[in-house]
């Protein structure tokens, strides 16, 4: 029997990278050498350049740049690259007997000699043409090295002139000569192991990075054999892995990457840190490789999550002279001149509308400055606007903006600014409307237009804030005016002239009792009590979520009928005061205000089930993402419709609709986040940012992480425009901090395709403006980024579990990075993977998962793991059952309760008291494995737990609650649990760290003591697979463990429902060289195992004769393999997926000869 493996996909850490030229990058991940297009990060071609190994470095021949030497571990290979196609130059990889640390192309005229430095401080000169070692030179000091650099500092590159800088495990840098191995210099100064050494020809500097978290710069002079420490850079919070030096305008700069996931940029001459690129990738465990392109002033970094990230340095490397003039050549700043009528008057607030600056002075003058012709115009003046005012703009259309101004005395002005043409300086129409009929003088300049304006509220209280909210095509104005009573009015803007009061909201008491942010959400829900499912009977239900100045979030259910056709004018004073249906207090740190709220619907259709993500930008430097689930809405409906009497009882039981999923920082130095702009943002003012040509798929548009485009934020005294996709600031302005009136705008450039970003702010009582040209490439999403596996966001840490979902098309992975990712496998034309769904919400490592079919198109997904987390999701397939349409989070149990959710915690306890009591004694348990069995109509979840318990829950689909049915205690940690169905009777099998099998009948789970089959393995059982034998009364159980043993036992269930071993346990010891992590049956006599020795073996099993023989061995590229899954394809093919530090997908087929 023979077999064939077909490797399809590998993703692992990018351990090496190098610029081929400014358009192309070479990277190495695992054994693959890959050519990457710099601009798109697209893989042009790839090549297995170092089979069975990991590429640690790429060295391009400096004279013949199509010759590439790559090495890793103890082997090297020589590859040529012609017309973007890789090919081998030498037949075989050369395997040496020591680890290779560096390689140097020697200029002997024939390009046949390379110097290779080995980990035992030894150098060999290798002749590539004859494939022989020409010479071996040993350093006089024998020592283990982590790093070394071969360099020359003479004009002629003969081997005598080559020098080695070795970084020893004893914290020293040795400079020694290849002439005879003598040490010329011993550079002492590091307090830890040296990880990387670089050398600069131009400056004769040696750079060393170390375990002691520093980078040392040494000035060496080989003529007098002197070397001294020039400077020491401390900037990393962890070990410094790599550094690269480069020159710009004769100034030397240095880039360094470290375990702290930071990339530091140093000015060597000034001995200063220029910039620290920070938190570039949340969740990734490490960053391994670094390359610099001097011409382009760009660096590229290779990450542990298999991602490649580029950074343009130009922005940070402005020479000192430039800096004094302006921060950037593309950036201009100016102070706007404004002639005020009163000398004592000054500017209070400002907004930017269609290239015009609108500003309001302390004495109540409203001016407009037209930037194109620098004209100043008084729009109107009002004593009511004096001393305090707050402005909010709302683009009704691209050339129509509605400006609302709130005043100290409780009046709100509403101005309609209509522009004939956006780009020309044409006259605009200003249209002030007045709802209440109080009229005041208007500026003469607008005497010809409609001379009405509005005062909305009876002036009594100060207007603390006004906010425009958008919902579909409607605009709403939220007016916060009552500090004492917490009263807030919500108006709907009707036909741009009329405001209609639609809701009165009650804001619970807090120190600064007004909203700083809000968003409106609508859902369609069927009318309660009506059977009809006509769409007309679907009620548009409106909810408002608001954040107050003290960092509390409130959710309101508004009784508003969203219907633009009806112009009914009811008596609004009858409106009921709406109290929040749910509040989450202290969302932010130190009661920082919530600056903006966005509601993003993650589901495609406007169906009744919605899955909102609420994004809160907070002034504590974080953005927080909440989940708002419409299942909660329907549940609430049901509860309310039951009875009004029991309201007091059901109220505390009301399910929490808002759940904090996670909080993120953009960058650790950002102090406060003000606003976000999304990809395909629907707001009119950002329409010019959207690329019309680009067609985003549904998931691209709805993937929250991907849809974040720009952020407006502050750090220190600076304002910053941050680009999420490029991971850097596009614009900075030293405006003095956030505590001022400011606004921004994007404009089209008149001359070219570029955009202009304008930022205006009030400083020292006058207006300043900064503007900068932004290239389209800085704003638009790189075209294919999301489809490209090097750019797609995948697990940043070891993947712990993987399973195919229902077909070979979807794979689910869970990781130590607490994420679950659903990956779609497309193998119709060419094989590619798309990580479609990122399911967040676990607090700790995800250890296990299982599925439960609800019907043909819906599955329940149960995931669990560390910190006693359980989550239940619903996977909904499309009509044709081909694609996953959406995934909804249904239920979650966590040991830790959500941040600040005080009333929530009470209700949770009353809901699941048993869970809390059960886990109170030891809340640190990990759910090691789960399997779901069907019992009556509800799924039953069986967990193997780290405290040695089997916990069995019934999940009630109807109530969305878990009920503990049974708990069984065992003295050892249980690692695996499986269900077995024989003759329609289901059984449960659990496996522990003692190598024992525990067996139950699920029908009598209640008080049955399990039967035990002992010592299948010597130690913990890492994985189990079961297969029913043809006679269907018997099953074959295979277990694997740390003891490298594959054990098989045939079991049968007797008539009295006892398990009976039909055969003795057959143990195949020493099946692998290391712990076996996964086992799967292909057929009853054919199985596969995968081990941490990185071999996937398909075995043929002869149980009768206790024999097994390998059919085929595959060397897998994933170290620390933790999970294996298999699915049957057509035509005798099987597909394996294995995960660990990376992921690999391999097909297998038996060949019968």
């Amino acid at each position: 029997m023979e077999g064939e493996f077909l490797p399809l996909f590998y993703k692992g850490p990018i351990t090496s990278c190098e610029y081929l030229d400014s358009e192309k990058i070479l990277i190495g991940y695992g054994p693959y050498l890959s050519l990457i297009d710099e601009s798109s990060s697209e893989e042009i071609s790839k090549f297995i350049a170092l089979k069975y190994r990991v590429i640690h470095k790429i060295v391009i021949n400096p004279t013949l740049r199509n010759q590439i030497c790559i090495f890793g571990q103890k082997a090297f290979n020589l590859v040529s690259l012609d017309n973007n196609i890789f090919s081998n130059i030498i037949d075989q990889y050369v395997e040496l007997d020591d680890w290779i640390l560096d390689m140097y192309w020697m200029e002997d005229g024939k390009n046949s000699l390379v110097a290779i430095l080995l980990a035992h401080n030894k150098c060999i000169i290798y002749n590539l043409q004859t494939n022989t070692i020409k010479k071996i030179i040993e350093c006089s000091q024998k020592c283990m090295l982590y790093t070394a650099k071969i360099f020359n500092n003479k004009a002629f590159e003969e081997e005598e002139n080559l020098l080695i800088a070795s970084g020893t495990i004893f914290n020293e840098v040795l400079i020694w000569s290849l002439k005879n191995g003598t040490i010329l210099l011993n550079l002492k100064g590091h307090q830890g192991v040296i990880f990387n050494i670089e050398y600069s020809h131009q400056t004769n500097n040696i750079y060393s990075t170390s375990d002691d978290r520093s980078i040392n710069v040494w000035k060496i002079n080989l003529n007098d054999q002197s070397g001294q420490l020039y400077t020491r850079f401390y900037g990393h919070d962890a070990r410094v892995w790599k550094c690269k030096a480069f020159l710009k305008d004769n100034t030397e700069f240095l880039c360094s990457i470290g375990e702290d996931l930071k990339c530091c940029l140093w000015n060597v001459e000034d001995k200063s840190l220029i910039y620290r690129l920070d938190a570039m990738r949340k969740g990734s465990k490490n960053i391994w490789s670094l390359a610099v392109n001097e011409a382009k002033l760009q660096i590229v970094t290779g990450w542990a999550d298999g991602g490649l990230r580029k950074f343009d340095l130009n922005h940070y490397l402005i020479s000192k002279e430039d800096q004094n003039d302006s921060a950037d050549k593309r950036q201009e700043s100016a102070e706007l001149e404004l002639n005020l009528e009163n000398e004592k008057d000054f500017i209070r607030s400002t907004v930017l509308i269609n290239s015009r600056v609108i500003c309001c002075t302390n004495l109540g003058f409203l001016y407009m400055i037209d930037l194109i012709n620098q004209q100043q115009k008084l729009l109107f003046k009002s004593i009511l606007l004096s001393n305090f005012n707050t402005m909010a703009k709302n683009y009704v259309d691209t050339n129509h903006c509605c400006l609302a101004i709130g005043s100290l005395k409780g009046f709100v002005y509403l101005l309609n600014l209509k522009f004939q043409d956006k780009n020309t300086g044409d006259l605009i129409t200003i249209d002030c409307i007045n709802c209440l009929g109080i009229e005041e003088e208007i500026a003469e300049s607008n005497a010809d237009s409609s001379t009405k304006f509005s005062l909305l509220t009876h002036g009594s209280s100060k207007i603390f804030n006004i906010l425009w909210l958008k919902c579909h095509k409607s605009s709403f104005l939220l007016v916060c005016f009552s500090l004492l009573n917490g009263l807030t009015h919500l108006y709907e803007l009707k036909s741009s002239k009329q405001l209609k009061l639609v809701a009165r909201l009650y804001l619970p008491a807090c120190k600064h009792r007004w909203f700083t942010s809000a968003a409106i959400i609508t859902i369609k829900s069927p009318n309660v009590g009506e059977e009809s499912t006509d769409s007309e009977n679907l009620r548009q239900e409106m909810h408002l979520i608001g954040g107050d100045k003290c960092g509390n979030l409130h959710l309101y259910r508004l009784d508003v009928v969203l219907d633009s056709s009806s112009e009914d004018c009811e008596d609004n004073s009858e409106l009921k005061l709406v109290k929040p249906s749910e509040s989450i207090s202290n969302v932010t740190k130190e009661n920082s205000p919530i600056s903006a709220i966005y509601a993003r619907n993650l589901n495609q259709t406007d169906g009744e089930i919605l899955n909102y993500r609420i994004i809160c930008c907070c002034k504590d430097g974080f953005y927080r993402i909440f989940e708002l689930n419409s299942n909660c809405f329907s549940e609430l409906d049901a509860e309310e419709s039951q009875s009004g009497e029991s309201e007091k009882l059901t109220k505390p039981m009301a399910k929490s609709m808002l759940k904090l999923i996670n909080k993120y920082q953009i960058n650790s130095y950002i102090d406060l986040i003000e606003e976000f702009i999304f990809d395909s943002d629907e707001r009119k003012e950002y329409s010019l940012l959207n690329n019309v040509d680009q067609k985003l798929s549904f998931w691209e548009k709805n993937n929250l992480e991907l849809s974040l485009k720009l952020a407006l934020c502050f750090y220190g005294d600076k304002f910053m425009l941050w680009n999420f996709q490029l991971n850097r600031a596009l614009f900075e302005s030293k405006c003095g901090g956030a505590n001022r009136s400011w606004d921004f705008e994007f404009m089209e450039s008149r001359n070219d395709e570029n955009l202009i970003f304008r930022f205006v702010y009030v400083k020292s009582k006058s207006i300043s403006e900064n503007r900068k040209v932004l290239f389209r490439s800085e704003i638009e999403r790189p075209m294919s980024q999301t489809r490209n596996h090097l750019c797609q966001i995948f697990h940043g840490n070891t993947i712990t579990i993987n399973k195919f979902i229902a077909s070979s098309k979807y794979l689910l992975t869970g990781s130590e990075d607490t994420q679950l990712i659903v990956t779609k496998i497309n193998d119709d034309k060419c094989f590619n993977l798309v990580h479609e769904f990122h399911l967040q919400g676990h607090d700790s490592v995800i250890k296990c998962m299982d599925f439960y079919p609800l019907n043909e198109a819906e599955f329940l997904l149960i995931t669990a793991g560390g910190k006693a987390n359980i989550k239940i999701w619903k996977i909904i397939f499309s009509q044709n059952r081909e694609n996953i349409e959406r995934i909804i989070s249904l239920y979650e149990f966590k040991r830790k309760l959500l941040n600040g959710a005080k009333n929530d915690s009470k209700s949770s306890i009353s809901e699941k008291p048993w869970l809390y009591i059960d886990l109170k004694s030891n809340p640190d348990i990990r759910f090691m494995d789960v399997c779901v069995i069907k019992k009556d109509s509800d799924p039953v979840l069986c967990f193997a737990c780290s405290d040695g318990c089997i916990r069995i829950f019934r999940y009630s689909i109807e109530t969305n609650k878990l009920y503990l049915i049974n708990k069984y205690e065992y003295p050892k940690c249980l690692l695996c649990i499986r269900r077995l169905t024989i003759n329609d009777e289901s059984y449960l099998l659990a496996f522990g760290t003692d190598g024992n099998l525990l067996f139950w009948r699920t029908n009598s789970l209640d008080d049955q003591i399990p039967q035990i089959i002992s010592e299948l393995n010597q130690s913990g059982i890492n994985d189990v697979d079961l297969i029913l034998l043809p006679d269907s009364r018997q099953a074959l159980v295979a277990t694997v463990g740390d003891d490298t043993c594959l054990s098989l036992v045939k079991i049968e269930v007797s008539t009295e429902q006892k398990v009976k071993m039909v055969s003795q346990i057959v143990k195949f010891e020493m099946s692998h060289a290391s712990a076996i992590a996964g086992v799967r049956f292909l057929l009853p006599n054919l199985m596969a195992t995968v081990s941490k020795d990185q071999r996937l073996v398909v075995w043929k099993i002869d149980l009768e004769n206790k024999k097994k023989s390998p059919v085929k061995v595959y060397f897998c590229n994933v170290p620390d393999v933790s999970s294996l899954d298999i699915i049957k394809l057509n035509d005798g093919w099987f597909r394996f997926s294995l995960v660990g530090v990376g992921m690999e997908i391999i097909d297998f087929k038996l060949i019968n000869r």
Binding site: M144, H190, I925, Q1018, M1070
Partner: protein
């Protein structure tokens, strides 16, 4: 939460503190001994890579139990010199491990080099005898079979053992080599490092001819604690009390960087003149 949280997660960490061991690895040696009777008739022991010293603690407790004429030499690998007066050791142990980088292939290689360096010393100091033993920590990765076959050249019997105090998921294991019997023509040489062997053919990489040694799980299954299990804080009905760790790391490499971070000096020029950190600066 807080200081007890590590006690909750790791039973052996906690037991080590409660029993006065310098590190949890003490249990590993004790459990290997249970299986292999390492200390029977042993008078002379060399403990390589001794820091933080928990194995030396075990050795001294076990060896001086009944007698006073035992001898333990505990050294760090780098400063090791052959033992004086020609008397050779009955047992060499090595619990050393490098700081792992996270790149599995490098970590496995460095660990193998450490074992081979220990083996090189061992060939100088270990008695050629069917009873002499060598115990070392290994990482069982993709090339572990190369190390197995190198060790098999020097010993009659090579076994991989995993004490129950070592976690199920960890890549760490211990190699127990019994009966030192070097090849006939072998001359111990400290000048040249021992290297691990090469794959002789690609068949060894994807074939079935790899050299694999037997595995034994050590430590009594019923009486020893399960390192993967989550235990409640109160064990066997006894009330829990917190114990401070016995020893903290002594001058770690990152000491200065950490101090600078605390003083908010990271990224600032490392000026030695005005720095309060002058006591930590470079010795040239």
């Amino acid at each position: 939460m807080g200081r007890a949280s590590k006690d909750k997660r790791d039973i052996y960490y906690r037991l080590a503190k409660e029993n006065g061991w310098r590190a949890r690895s003490a249990f590993k040696l004790l459990q290997i001994n249970e299986e292999f009777k390492l200390f029977d008739n042993v008078k002379r022991v060399v403990d390589l890579c001794a820091a933080p010293g928990s194995w030396s603690q075990v050795l001294s407790r076990e060896l001086f139990r009944d007698t006073n004429d035992s001898k333990i030499v505990a050294v760090d690998l780098q400063k090791m010199a052959p033992l004086d007066n020609g008397e050779k050791a009955d047992l060499v142990v090595c619990d050393g491990a490098p700081d792992v980088t996270g790149l599995h292939d490098i970590d496995e290689f460095i660990q193998a080099q450490l074992v081979l360096a220990a083996l090189n010393i061992t060939t100088h100091v270990l008695k050629t005898s069917p009873d002499s033993k060598f115990v070392a920590k290994i990482f069982r990765g993709k090339d572990i079979t190369l190390l197995f076959s190198q060790l098999k050249c020097f010993f009659n019997k090579v076994t991989v053992s995993k004490p129950r105090s070592s976690r199920n998921s960890s890549i760490e294991a211990f190699i127990v080599c019994e009966g030192y019997q070097p090849p006939l023509d072998y001359v111990p040489n400290m000048r040249n490092p021992l290297l691990d062997q090469k794959y002789s053919s690609l068949d060894e990489l994807e074939g079935s001819t790899r050299f694999i040694v037997p595995f034994i799980a050590c430590g009594d299954l019923n009486s020893s604690y399960d390192s993967d299990k989550t235990y409640p804080l109160s064990l066997d009905g006894k009330e829990y009390s917190f114990h401070e760790p016995l020893c903290q790391p002594i001058s770690p490499p990152y000491e200065k960087a950490k101090l600078m971070r605390q003083q908010n000096q990271l990224g600032k020029q490392d000026d030695e003149h005005n720095s309060k950190l002058s006591d930590l600066t470079i010795s040239n």
